[in-house]
Symmetry: C2
Subunit: 172 residues, 2 copies
């Protein structure tokens, strides 16, 4: 990923990435479907952690709180890689295609959460709406954290934004 | 757009689209930056209508209700083109790049709404969270409507889903 930062995502070829990583190009494509995927390589593990935390939290929390509990756990993991996250964000912000890929990953996280909620007995459209609410909170909290001062704690921002979210969507 | 339906988005060239529309290729590119944009051509007008409705509704409604009032107005417009919407949805569902473009359009709608809320005095993060909540409701309501029976009224589905959304995000 350092290469993307040095010379820009578009100017970096797969051959260069593979060389820097000490891999053959063929090996690169065994791991990543294209060069965009390098930036999203932890996504599957993060999704699995998120979903399993949500399912466990549903035992004693209402769905929206369970979803946010999962997002806080994922947020704690992301926070361990603050510098990586910031570099990655700068690369994505500079490239429309990468922004699109980022949004589709968030949308597939929302689908995975909605699926887990349905399997735990939450009906539609509540399951999808709850999952989308969680992802909306995560998206805005992450933007705040990644662009904010070093002291910010991502799980805390997520929890605070859940509270603001409940206020702004409260019945009048 | 009929061409995309007939032979698939990927198999259709700009030259063919331009020919079907009776345009020179150069004229096509004066109107659309690429062939994906054909499917998103009404987006700017829709965004303008949405934002102006939200701003007016803020006079006597809380932000989330004002945002949903704007989305209902946009929904009424979309509903006038039900067959177009369905064809378009089928084309987008079959192509990952188009799904990404659709998501980035929704994200830019959310930004436009958040911007309008801030200019009307809503602070952050409430403005961004309210805008994302509205787009989440719209996204799930639209999916229901576009895949549902003909009798469904999109503005009604949006309003109903706002109500479910308030229930699922209510303080316990």
């Amino acid at each position: 990923m350092a290469l993307y930062g040095e010379r820009g995502f578009e100017q970096t070829t797969v051959a260069e990435i593979a060389k820097r990583a000490g891999l053959a190009e063929r090996t690169f494509f065994r791991h990543f479907s294209d060069k965009r995927e390098v930036l999203f390589s932890g996504a599957a593990a993060l999704e699995a952690l998120l979903v399993s935390t949500v399912v466990t939290a549903l035992d004693d929390q209402v769905p929206i709180d369970a979803v946010v509990a999962g997002l806080e756990t994922a947020g704690a993991l992301i926070q361990q890689r603050r510098d990586f996250s910031r570099q990655r964000q700068a690369i994505i912000a500079a490239n429309t295609e990468l922004q699109e890929r980022e949004l589709i990953k968030l949308a597939s996280l929302a689908s995975a959460i909605a699926n887990a909620l349905r399997q735990s007995g939450v009906r539609e459209p509540a399951a999808s709406l709850t999952a989308e609410a969680g992802i909306a909170i995560f998206k805005i909290a992450f933007e705040r954290w990644v662009n904010g001062p070093d002291e910010l704690d991502l799980p805390t921002v997520i929890r605070e934004y859940l509270s603001v979210f409940k206020d702004v969507t409260a019945r009048g």
